[in-house]
Amino acid sequence: MIKFKINDQQVQAQPGWTVLETARQHGINIPTLCYHEAVEPSGACRLCVVELREGDWSKVVISCMYPVAEGLNVYTDSQRVKNVRRWILEMLLAECPASKEIQALAAEYGVGSTRFAVHNPEEQCILCGLCSRVCAQVVGANAISTVGRGVHKQIGAPYMIPTDKCVACGCCVTVCPTGAMRSRFDAVRGVPKVVLAHGAR
């Protein structure tokens, strides 16, 4: 049994739990986007950051992957954490301004607009990759992944053409934290064509 503190409240955890799991078990809310209970955490969105304090010194870590340890001093809603989350949300607002979910979350933290350049006002996807993790770990189909690199990175089937690996279960649409998968789904499931010869379709 590991004992430590979250927001000055004494909590207990088992070895192997993460800070996020322990917080949730004790009814402490930490916002998340790319985290889903059905799959392994990946730490892509950084929204679940918490502050770990040790005397005068403190650091900010992601709670979804941080393992519990004896004597931790975790703050989930301190000023520093709120600042980091506001920065993240401001960046997300620039990345996917069209997502209602992101807008609502930003408004909760008092972020109404962004100072970063908006490249695509229609964008909804934060490229957290939750959809592809669910597709691989829950469905086992491995139909979608990130395609391209850098600023060209997007979510889709290989070569952005409908794939017969997709079983059209819609798990990616259900778990998507920003509602972006909805418009991408049709380009993944499609109607798979029979390949007549290698190279020819």
């Binding site: 993460t18 819609g170 259900t174 020819a200």
Partner: protein
């Protein structure tokens, strides 16, 4: 506490952070469930799905000896697999864990008070608990691989498959017609013309196969039978020397089948001498050498009606042209192609083509070229001028078909063949874990037209697939999926209806085709669609761990608890249920009077489940499947339409409104449309009002329930279901009306018979005809007709008292 079924069910309510807890009165719900005798243990957890919650679950299971578990939380589609995986170590197998979507079907989708939401959740949980209580769990079935892998069919992919198997160290038996592999290369152009450049590589493969210690070659006649199941097959071959048939015990079968090339008809001027096809041209080059003069390849696949094969034909033509030019410089070669297609050459090949002086001439595809003696007239695509192209030899593309030999083998293997198609089968779009064996193990151009390279690749791929399964089996880790169909051999009469409907190919007779032999199911092939089980006239075919009895228990428990204006619905996990989940995730609000139950395919719903809903007091039943032609299993939606139609007819016979049951479909990506569907149906049923629970109505509903379980009715229904080889639903109205009339006749007969039988069995005393007719409120003539038939069949006895006939049920 025990619930009478000898099982202990634990229910866990999930708070899911702020998404369920404040919206639903979980405390009240927990108290209510604690008083339910069917529930042995109930607890509320903050997050059942996270590591702390999962350890709580396992502790509760161990401490209370629970053998069934229900989590009322979120989507079963996404989290059920995690719970199943985590609870396997606690002794709960797949099927013994179930989920109710409290969050997306109750908490998030309406503005009801927390108490009302708890009441709705309670009814849904009760239904799921009843379903779990009705479960008879099976033991996990281990699949073993006994004997070598057999590669049969004689296609060229035999060699690549055998090579792959031997490289992976798996023993194989090659069933071939002849021992001489040089002969096979000599005749290969019959199936794959224009592949000479590949022969050296093919010889290497053949040599490797010849030298491998893992490969045994047997010379056999025709394949006459294949029985057994994945891991243990018996393949029967006729003896080429005329002896008795030989049986080989093998663990798996890879069928390598080559398609057939046919000549074009005379509409392209084919005469077999100067106007020839690819295969004839190859044969000519083998025997007479390369022809001299002007050789013209016409890629005429567009005109022959198969533009999709133009790629293959032009590749073959290019390969033959290259051979001709490099072996006979005096031959002029032109390839004549439709301008709608692109030249299928890489940059390097284009350069080689130019260097060899092969000309590619396009023609305008909107005008069909005409073959005349010595030249072809065509329209130039640029200038639109009519031009002539001279030739000494005109070589046409071949026509492609499966071929007679391959078809015979396919028939024995039980592969469904659709006229005019190749053997490539409709693939069920289900999760990989739902199928034991990923695909039909079939390779070669009979599967779909392809070139030699692709054919060999298919052989290797099939072999790799088999090798992987065999390796898993050798480690002792190969288990058959648990939600598959099984046959109760004592009930099965071997009618073959299930085999006709099954399109995953899992159902086969035990020994040879035909005859009244009980069928059996290969659990490694069955995808668990279950429409076959719902169609069985004798309830001999069931889906283990997911039975009709469970669904009936679920629907009965829910229907008993519903208020007058509330509606029961079944949602398919790929369509309706997923759309409802997504509506909850998006937080859309809709009519809370809809109670949705989960099925993995809407086709699993036996008509008896639908009838049971009405019998137990539901006022309306909505079935929401996938979009049309999008069923993930086979034709679940089509089959359900037929079943709903049966229910509608029976409701009309009972004097109830036909609109109380409806089939709908929903796209999971369009939750708003799903809401429109749901609300339309709920308001429709609310307008109709409840079915009054009067003795008369109950008697009719019991009759309805008995009628849908009647073998004759189920047979007639089964005959009308869409078959897998039917490309489109044959909804021919003339046939439909004739069928309707006959079906209605059968139904009205069987309905009265069922009601007579129910009445006689409920009161153990003799009845007169007039009494019976009065009790059933029917005319005497149809009742008399039923009585006469039932007496004739020995179901009821007739005795005379005071000169009046009395009828009594025979025990």
């Amino acid at each position: 506490m025990d619930n009478g079924n000898g099982c202990k069910i634990g229910v866990f309510l999930c708070e899911c952070g702020r998404r369920i807890a404040p919206l639903v009165d979980l405390k009240g719900l927990e108290q209510k469930l604690a008083q339910d005798p069917a529930v042995s243990y109930v607890a509320t957890l903050p997050f059942a799905c996270l590591t702390p919650g999962l350890s709580n679950l396992r502790q509760a299971v161990a401490a209370n000896g629970l053998d069934r578990l229900l989590v009322a939380g979120c989507e079963a589609r996404i989290l059920l697999k995690k719970f199943e995986g985590e609870l396997l170590s606690a002794g709960l197998d797949e099927g013994q864990v179930d989920m109710v979507n409290l969050r997306d079907h109750v908490a998030q989708v309406s503005d009801l008070s927390p108490e009302d939401k708890a009441a709705k959740g309670f009814k849904l949980i009760q239904a799921a608990v009843a379903g779990l209580a009705a479960l008879t769990p099976t033991v996990r079935e281990k699949v073993e691989f006994k004997g070598p892998v057999m590669v049969l069919g004689g296609g060229i992919a035999t060699y690549s498959a055998a090579q792959e198997l031997s490289r992976r160290g798996i023993e194989s038996v090659l069933a071939v017609a002849t021992d001489e592999w040089e002969d096979e290369i000599r005749m290969l152009h019959e199936h794959y013309p224009g592949e000479r450049h590949y022969y050296d590589r093919l010889k290497e493969i053949m040599k490797e196969v010849d030298a491998s210690p893992y490969i045994r070659r047997i010379t056999v006649g025709e394949l006459t039978g294949l029985t057994g199941r994945t891991g243990s097959y018996q393949a029967t071959f006729s003896d080429p020397t005329g002896g008795p048939p030989r049986v080989h015990e093998v663990s798996a079968v890879i069928a390598c089948l080559d398609g057939q090339m046919l000549n074009q008809g005379s509409n392209f001027g084919h005469d077999g001498r100067n106007v020839i096809c690819h295969t004839e041209a190859e044969e000519m080059m083998w025997t007479l050498g390369v022809p001299e003069g002007k050789v013209l390849f016409w890629i005429n696949d567009y005109e022959a009606g198969h533009p999709e094969y133009a790629y293959l034909s032009s590749r073959a033509a290019w390969s033959m042209a290259r051979y001709m030019r490099s072996h006979s410089p005096r031959t002029q070669v032109t390839i004549f192609y439709n301008h709608n297609m692109s030249i299928p050459l890489s940059t390097g090949e284009r350069a080689a083509s130019r260097q060899l002086g092969i000309t590619w001439v396009p023609y305008d595809g909107s005008l069909r070229p005409t073959v005349q003696t010595g030249y072809v007239t065509y329209c130039d695509p640029v200038s639109h001028l009519e031009c002539e192209m001279p030739w000494d030899k005109l070589i046409l593309s071949p026509r492609r078909s499966v071929g007679h030999e391959a078809l015979k083998v396919a028939q024995v293997l039980g592969l469904e063949h659709v006229e005019g198609h190749f053997l490539e089968q409709h693939k069920q779009r289900v999760r990989p874990e739902m199928v034991g064996r990923a695909e039909t193990i079939l390779a070669g151009s009979a599967r779909y037209p392809c070139d030699l390279h692709e054919s060999l690749r298919q052989g290797r791929r099939a072999a790799a697939g088999v090798a992987e399964i065999a390796a898993t089996a050798a480690r002792g880790e190969l288990y058959a999926p648990r939600m598959v169909c099984v046959v109760d051999a004592s009930k099965c009469i071997g009618c073959g209806l299930c085999k006709e409907i099954c399109d995953c190919g899992g159902i086969e007779p035990v020994e040879g085709p035909g005859g009244n032999i009980p069928r059996h199911v290969d659990p490694m092939v069955c995808t668990g669609g279950g429409t076959c089980a719902a169609a069985c006239p004798y309830h001999a075919l069931t889906q283990q761990n997911n039975t009709t009895a469970q669904r009936e228990a679920r629907v009965a428990a829910l229907a008993r608890g519903l208020a007058a204006d509330e509606v029961l619905a079944f949602g398919c996990a790929w369509g309706g249920l997923a759309a409802a989940d997504n509506a909850g995730v998006k937080g859309l609000k809709y009519d809370p009077r809809l109670y949705m139950l989960r099925v993995s395919c809407i086709g699993q719903l036996d008509p008896s489940v639908m009838a049971r809903a009405f019998l137990e007091g539901a006022g309306g039943l909505l079935l929401i499947g996938c979009p049309p032609e999008d069923c993930h299993h086979s034709y679940g939606l089509d089959h359900t339409w037929s079943r709903v139609n049966l229910l509608k007819k029976l409701l009309a016979l009972c004097g109830f409104d036909r609109r109380r049951i409806a089939l709908a479909h929903a796209d999971l990506n369009e939750p708003e449309e799903y809401i429109r569907t749901a609300e339309a149906f709920v308001s429709q049923v609310a307008a109709l009002g409840p079915i009054e629970r009067t003795p008369d109505n109950l008697e009719k509903l019991r009759g309805l329930y008995s009628t849908v379980n009647n073998a004759r009715v189920r047979w007639v229904l089964g005959a009308s279901l869409r078959r897998p080889w039917e490309d489109v639903y044959p909804g021919n109205q003339r046939n439909a009306l004739i069928f309707d009339r006959d079906f209605m006749g059968v139904l009205s007969e069987e309905f009265i018979r069922a009601r007579v039988a129910n009445l006689l069995s409920s009161e153990h005393r003799p009845f007169q005809l007039s009494e019976l007719a009065a009790a059933l409120k029917e005319d005497e003539a149809p009742v008399m007709e039923s009585l006469r038939e039932m007496v004739g069949e020995g179901l009821i006895g007739r005795m005379h008292k005071d000169g009046v006939a009395h009828y009594v049920l025979r025990s």
